[in-house]
């Protein structure tokens, strides 16, 4: 038998590429903002501190002022925490529950798979807008409900991806070995299959994270969102949209913040030091 050579360049172990490092830096930066940002805010995010609305960058207001004359830097620092923590938790919930269901569908197969797949197909096909409206109307608005809504909206999509992965891993012999050992379904799902789909699930997580960040401003528009005076980054862009004409930092800065968060997360995930799942054949 000949030496099996990998078809792709092997990644360097414990080393991260330049793009990955950029991603890591962005993510670390935003995690720091999430952790301590609001403490660094020079002004309360709800206070009108400038006489100029949608004002330019000045010494007093490094990122300008918003449509009411509030300090944008403070608002972004606070909004960043909301956006990141809500989007992260919601995406995590979506991906986690999707993986759990997908694993159950793959391992149990048969009617469990059929029922889950049909139900989630039905759920994914319902416009998220209608879903959001119904949730707001029926359950009211709070951060936990916001997180759950975003999670439920993106869960079926994540399920589709995760199920395909889980079915592939489930076909591997080591799963048969575990089953022949007498392991229960939960162990097989958790310990045998899950570790082998972490990476592609993370990639899916990255893109879904972007969608959730953007969904927040949409849901906030429906009245399901972060409560004033605070606002998530998407809503900051939206509420200052009038400033776009003047190129006001109040609209450009939060948009740049969203872009840097999402790009950072995706760069990092795409450049994670990968582990070979199996030798190439």
């Amino acid at each position: 038998m000949s030496v099996p050579l990998r078809a792709t360049l092997p990644p360097r172990r414990f080393r991260i590429s330049v793009t990955g490092a950029i991603g890591l830096a962005l993510v670390v930066f935003w995690l720091a903002v999430t952790a301590v940002g609001p403490m660094l805010a020079p002004y309360p995010p709800g206070r009108i501190v400038g006489t100029d609305v949608l004002g330019p960058m000045t010494h007093a207001f490094p990122l300008g002022t918003d449509y009411l004359g509030r300090d944008m830097l403070s608002r972004i620092l606070v909004g960043g925490r909301y956006t990141i923590s809500i989007a992260f938790v919601a995406t995590f919930l979506a991906c986690f529950s999707a993986c759990t269901l997908a694993l159950a569908a793959a391992v149990k197969g048969g009617w469990v798979d059929a029922v889950l797949s049909r139900l989630l197909d039905a759920l994914i096909s319902i416009p998220s807008l209608l879903f959001g409206l119904v949730v707001v109307a029926a359950l009211g608005s709070s951060i936990p409900i916001l997180v759950l809504t975003a999670a439920v909206i993106y869960m079926p999509g994540a399920y589709r991806t995760a199920r395909a992965l889980a079915v592939n891993v489930n076909a591997m012999d080591f799963v048969r070995v575990a089953q022949a050992r007498g392991e229960g379904a939960w162990y097989v799902m958790r310990a045998e299959i899950m570790p082998n789909m972490v990476l592609p699930v993370l990639t899916d997580f990255g893109l879904r994270f972007v969608f959730v960040v953007l969904l927040l401003s949409g849901l906030s528009f429906l009245g399901l969102g972060v409560q004033p005076p605070d606002a998530d980054l998407g809503s900051l862009v939206r509420e200052n949209l009038q400033g776009l004409v003047f190129g006001a930092p109040a609209v450009i800065m939060p948009a740049a913040a969203i872009a840097s968060i999402t790009i950072g997360v995706n760069l990092l995930i795409d450049n994670l030091p990968t582990r070979r799942v199996s030798r190439e054949r």
């Binding site: 038998m1 990998r6 012999d173 022949a180 799942v277």
Partner: protein, 617 residues
């Protein structure tokens, strides 16, 4: 061109590969050899010897992560290393063509065969499409492919593996290249199929005078086809010589080692006491199994095994032999409980095992362990070796803490692995190491019976031999029983006490190991045994016509449902009997049972005695 000058010259070739840590290391180092026009040269070596890398470098190609770093490669008048990207596309498929190991993977599954076969002729604009197709049909004929006029219209999945391999040869030959590279072209094939493919290759090469570089790990195969042999190890040439002398009198120690591994020694346990007071460990009776749910008669829609009976005595090893698709892996899965049988019973120490996994007790599960063929897929790539071994210890024996660690260390020692490997993941281990971990995991359960499914098939001969040694040692030390599944008769012969031969889901022969050595045999067993290439030149050319006809027959459709599954290929079949009546179970004087209408005498008359050279016993 100078007539004395060889067609191909490789001079001081050096290929580098980047490993996981980003370091470059030499995988081919200072390799030089030449191939004369019309000559067949074999590159032989084990995994990691660099033989495929060298072969590919003749096409100016290095796989991703590798690069040709130095040396000269000349094919005909072309300096391969000096070629531009466009020059390389002109070389590939035109001057030098390539036959890959797995034809099934080398064919594009979404295209019909003909356009793929003539693709290089089209790319290089050598001839009009019609002419190319006509030429391809000619090659199909020359390669003894069935239905040469229509096989091109089929899709790859509609054609058998042996046929695909020959179609791949046609693909390589369509442009009349100066050099053909065959990379392990028969390794993935069953032995009976290998014969016809090898013969077809050889016939065409001889007829066309094709210059060939034949890459293989199998000395016996190479002996049939090569004029000269280049022995490689770790990317360096060990020995170059003409085939006959090299096989007869290997000079280099490594070549000698290879030759020794090709004819494995028998690893016999002390004969099992057959006093009869111990009941059989495993009894399988009337077993029928398959896939796709049950039909109205309670039979599986896709039956794989039919009416299998056998026993395994405590401490003995049963070899299960057969070609791909005969149901031997399914048998292991049924015994392990992964696939519930449709009919029949499996009992362990006289106690019936429930068909379904869920119904078996943990103790029952513990006593029967299965070891899969592909250690790659059988070991969870996400877990470290320690964790893989710890799980059955915790699960079955409830070990914790220091006891657990000590037991893991003991297991690693038992399979002769260094303890530090415990912290590695399977992806970082070699094939042999992985297979040892695979075994150690089964041993961790302290089972009574281990089902070994082709555990050496994916390994190099030398590595596989070491695994066999390990198994034999374990068997002695631990009083284990094995069911040893293999398509490779020589390993079975070397390790097993009893042998069962399956054909299309039917047990055609069952007996002591001698059953594989002593005549007469079931006609299929005979075909199987005599199809193993012998380590001498001229074996291939000496195969009888009858043998060849049987070898190229191919398994009949729905063979398992026929009274005798082998009927359509059998040289000694009785029309009107074999195709209508179920053959009787016939005990033979050598102590085996066969499923055949022919009597022992009839069979003995039909079978030629085996050449003594192979008989190691």
């Amino acid at each position: 061109m100078n007539a004395d000058r060889p067609l191909v010259e490789v001079d001081a070739l050096r290929v580098l590969a980047r490993d996981d840590s980003g370091q470059e290391r030499r995988i081919v180092d200072d390799v030089s050899f030449s191939i004369g026009a019309g000559e067949v040269v074999a590159l032989i070596g084990e995994s990691g010897s660099g033989k495929t890398t060298i072969a590919l470098s003749l096409l100016g190609y290095a796989r991703a992560g590798c690069r040709i770093a130095g040396g000269g490669i000349r094919v005909g008048a072309t300096d391969v290393r000096a070629l531009s990207a466009a020059g390389l596309t002109g070389l590939r498929g035109r001057q030098v063509s390539y036959i890959a190991q797995s034809a099934a993977a080398a064919f594009n599954p979404s295209q019909r065969i003909m356009p793929q076969v003539i693709e290089s002729a089209m790319i290089h604009r050598l001839m009009p499409r019609r002419a190319a197709e006509a030429k391809a049909r000619g090659l199909f004929r020359a390669l003894a492919l069935p239905n040469p006029d229509r096989i091109g219209a089929r899709f790859p999945h509609q054609v058998s593996g042996g046929q695909l391999q020959r179609l791949l040869a046609a693909m390589a030959l369509i442009t009349d290249p100066e050099l053909v590279i065959m990379d392990e072209p028969t390794t993935a094939l069953d032995v009976t199929t290998q014969i016809e493919v090898l013969r077809a290759f050889k016939a065409v090469a001889r007829e066309k005078g094709t210059t060939t570089l034949y890459v293989s790990h199998d000395l016996a195969v190479v002996a049939q086809i090569a004029d000269r042999i280049v022995v490689l190890r770790d990317g360096a040439v060990q020995e170059i010589g003409h085939t006959g002398p090299l096989l007869a009198a290997p000079r280099h120690a490594y070549t000698q080692e290879l030759l020794a591994a090709a004819a494995p020694a028998v690893r016999m346990a002390p004969p099992v006491a057959r006093t009869g007071e111990r009941p059989p460990l495993l009894r399988v009776a009337g077993l029928t199994a398959g896939y796709g749910g049950a039909n109205a008669a309670g039979m599986p829609v896709l039956p794989v095994l039919r009416d299998i009976d056998f026993v395994i005595q405590p401490g003995s090893v049963l070899g299960v032999v057969g070609e791909s698709g005969c149901g031997k892996s399914t048998l292991a899965r049924v015994i392990a409980g992964l696939l519930p049988a449709a009919r029949g019973s499996v009992s362990l120490d006289g106690e019936a095992l429930p068909a379904k996994l869920q119904d078996r007790s943990r103790e029952q599960l513990r006593r029967v362990q299965i070891v899969f063929q592909m250690a790659d897929t059988a070991l969870n790539p996400a877990h470290e070796v320690d964790r893989i071994l710890a799980r059955p210890l915790v699960f079955y024996h409830g070990l914790r803490g220091g006891a657990l660690r000590r037991r893991i260390a003991a297991l690693l020692e038992m399979v002769q692995l260094p303890a530090r490997l415990g912290r590695h993941k399977p992806g970082e281990l070699s094939g042999g190491q992985k297979q040892r971990v695979n075994l150690a995991r089964a041993l961790a359960a302290e089972p009574s019976l281990i089902l070994c499914d082709e555990v050496t098939s994916a390994l190099d001969t030398v590595v596989g031999a070491a695994i066999l040694d390990l198994l034999a040692g374990l068997r002695r030390e631990l009083d284990l029983s094995f069911m040893f599944i293999s398509h490779d008769l020589s390993t079975v012969r070397a390790f097993c006490d009893e042998v069962m031969i399956l054909y299309a889901g039917q047990r055609v022969e069952f007996g002591q190991r001698r059953a594989l050595l002593d005549r007469p045999m079931h006609p299929y067993s005979d075909l199987l045994v005599s199809s193993i290439p012998e380590l001498r030149t001229g074996w291939l050319d000496g195969i009888s016509a009858a043998h060849l006809a049987e070898a190229s027959g191919g398994i009949a459709a729905h063979a398992i449902e026929l009274p005798c599954a082998f009927y359509n290929r059998c040289a000694v079949r009785v029309e009107g009997v074999c195709n209508l009546q179920k053959p009787p179970l016939r005990p033979l004087a050598k102590g085996a049972e066969i499923l055949c209408h022919r009597t022992e005498q009839e069979l003995l008359a039909a079978q030629s005695p085996q050449p003594a050279a192979v008989l190691v016993h």
